[in-house]
């Protein structure tokens, strides 16, 4: 090894190290664009889609009212299921054998019952129990009302969806709780923290990282599952569309209107998911690959 070779090699040192050109991306991109253009062209030129009718109904008050009902139903059912799901998941892990078994039985029953069956049962619950009473067990009733005035269509829909989704949420939360390293709980215990506080401030916030993706999945599912509620004549989005096309026979455009709004709702949820995930990722978040490349480049240049 002489000085001369070292100098020569120094002269040949590369100035930049560049990423490989990814031609595959361009080819795939071009193909996708072509397919999308073809699909759109066929849909737009095919008169059977009747896009003018789509335009007429997409912002009509009946549809928007149905949309509002769907959102309302999904949000209430989901909020209640999340609360019930957390309680069930905690019970499922409890050292109290009775509570543990109760939670397990609940999850079994309500995952096993098809939602459609559950909704129809609830809708017809008045046939089983004509009145709902509040009273002393084995004693006199203090208060009594007709079941149909309590379990209305909306009531049956919310109760049914919540009972059903809570069972799934319970398992999602349990998976999240289990995913948190046991050492976190031990460290909190060693600091003398009570178990409720440990759950709320140490375990659950870290479990959320594993919980948010499947929970969003569940939420998207609930938004679409609300359409099942149309079987008990709840005027949600799909039912509103059905009411119109039963009258006008414009079936396809109205189904497309409903699909359009389900797409929009799901897109909103996906955006929300991104931000919620970011929040619960704090403390672990790395930076994106692109941002990292840029930072490295700047740092190198500054160093030169």
């Amino acid at each position: 090894m002489t000085d001369a070779t070292a100098v020569k090699m120094g002269a040949d040192l590369p100035v930049r190290i560049r990423a490989r050109k990814r031609y595959g991306n361009w080819v795939a991109g071009a193909m996708v664009v072509l397919v999308v253009v073809l699909v759109f062209r066929s849909a737009l030129t095919n008169e059977n889609f009747s896009w003018p009718a789509f335009g007429r109904y997409v912002f009509s008050s009946t549809i928007l009212l149905g949309l509002a009902r769907t959102v309302e139903l999904a949000v209430i059912a989901m909020a209640l299921s999340i609360i019930a799901g957390i309680v069930l998941a905690v019970l499922r892990q409890s050292s109290n054998g009775v509570l543990n078994a109760v939670s397990g039985a609940y999850i079994w029953v309500f995952r096993a019952t098809p939602l459609l069956v559950l909704l129809l049962l609830l809708y017809n619950v008045a046939a089983l129990y004509p009145t709902v009473s509040l009273g002393i067990p084995f004693g006199p009733d203090l208060f009594s009302v007709a079941t149909n005035s309590v379990v209305t269509v909306a009531g049956a829909a919310i109760i049914g969806l919540t009972l059903h989704e809570a069972a799934y949420c319970a398992e999602i939360f349990r998976a999240g709780l289990v995913s948190v390293e046991h050492g976190q709980r031990e460290a909190a215990e060693a600091l003398g923290m009570p178990s409720g506080l440990i759950l709320r401030r140490i375990v659950l916030p870290q479990a959320m990282r594993a919980i948010v993706p499947p929970l969003t999945n569940q939420f998207v599912n609930v938004v679409k599952t609300t359409s099942i509620v149309s079987v008990i004549s709840m005027s949600e989005l799909l039912h509103s569309a059905q009411i119109i096309y039963a009258r006008t026979y414009e079936t396809i455009p109205l189904l497309l209107v409903a699909t359009f709004w389900y797409l929009v709702l799901t897109a909103l949820l996906t955006v929300a998911q991104h931000y919620v995930e970011q929040y619960f990722n704090r403390g672990r978040a790395g930076i994106s690959a692109a941002a990292s490349r840029k930072l490295s480049r700047l740092a190198l240049e500054a160093g030169r």
């Binding site: 390293e181 050492g183 976190q184 031990e186 460290a187 909190a188 215990e189 060693a190 600091l191 003398g192 923290m193 009570p194 178990s195 506080l197 401030r201 140490i202 916030p205 870290q206 619960f280 704090r282 403390g283 672990r284």
Partner: protein, 262 residues
């Protein structure tokens, strides 16, 4: 709990009498007796599986015991006496006893979703009811003491292992413990980071903190420990002044172990 006993010097910091611990039929602690005086630094050494970590975890009731009793500053942790028996205490009783026992884990176990400052103020605020400003002030002082004053806004994942362990020690100190338990505090660290953690522990020992340390750092034990306990197969094999146990062990088993780790 008998608060009077906490302050009197003649009550041992830790008193372990005839403790047995079993996992199923596996006997992990066998008739263990150990007394630790206030201010004493005890190093527990021994091969893996000898029960030294389990013994440490029994002291603050992270593990249950099946026989015997453990007093910390004259009080029971996680149990109460009913006649001749011990009965598991309520959660509240156990929490109150634990507050005064700091614990440092091999894997640090810092709360990953909280900044260092939040890690340090969480328990003082929510368990001891310390006002927030006071908790923050104390936390900053302790972070300074372990040499991490400028890092209080960082998350644990942004620190090296050695730094994380120093924060974990500071977090335990925030509860103003009267006893500190260290469960292999340097075993998960890169060799070059061990020193900084041992320095913090040395500083603590110099300030008369009662410490029980499970460790493989024989050099540290020789330098800092008053007493060294050698355990094997769930029993205390040898127990005495650090210099005596480490340099002229009486038991053949101890000698063989020390030859291998040296």
């Amino acid at each position: 709990m008998n608060d009077v006993a906490w302050s009197t010097a003649d009550v041992p910091a830790v008193e372990i009498r005839g403790v047995h611990k079993l996992y199923g039929s596996l006997h992990v602690l066998h008739q263990v007796d150990l007394v630790v005086a206030p201010g004493e630094v005890v190093c527990l050494i021994g091969p893996s599986g000898s029960g030294k970590s389990t013994l440490l975890r029994c002291i603050n009731n992270l593990e249950k015991i099946q026989a015997g009793l453990i007093h910390v500053h004259g009080g029971l942790v996680g149990y109460r006496r009913v006649g001749r028996d011990l009965v598991e205490a309520t959660q509240r009783q156990r929490r109150q006893a634990r507050q005064h026992i700091g614990m440092v884990f091999q894997q640090f176990n810092l709360f990953g979703h909280l900044t260092l400052l939040q890690n340090l103020i969480e328990a003082p605020i929510h368990v001891q009811g310390l006002p927030r400003e006071q908790a923050v002030e104390q936390a900053k002082a302790l972070l300074g003491r372990v040499g991490l004053a400028d890092k209080h806004g960082d998350y644990p994942a942004q620190l090296s292992g050695g730094q994380q362990q120093r924060v974990a020690i500071a977090r335990a100190l925030c509860m103003r413990p009267k006893l500190m338990l260290f469960d292999e505090p340097t075993s998960a660290l890169d060799p070059e980071l061990v020193g900084e953690v041992l320095d913090v522990m040395r500083d603590l020992a110099g300030n008369q903190m009662t410490m029980l340390v499970v460790t493989h750092e024989i050099g540290f034990a020789r330098q800092v420990a008053d007493t060294v306990v050698f355990m094997d197969q769930g029993r205390i094999v040898e127990h005495g002044p650090a210099a005596q146990v480490l340099d002229s062990p009486r038991q053949e088993r101890t000698r063989r172990f020390l030859e291998r780790v040296r």
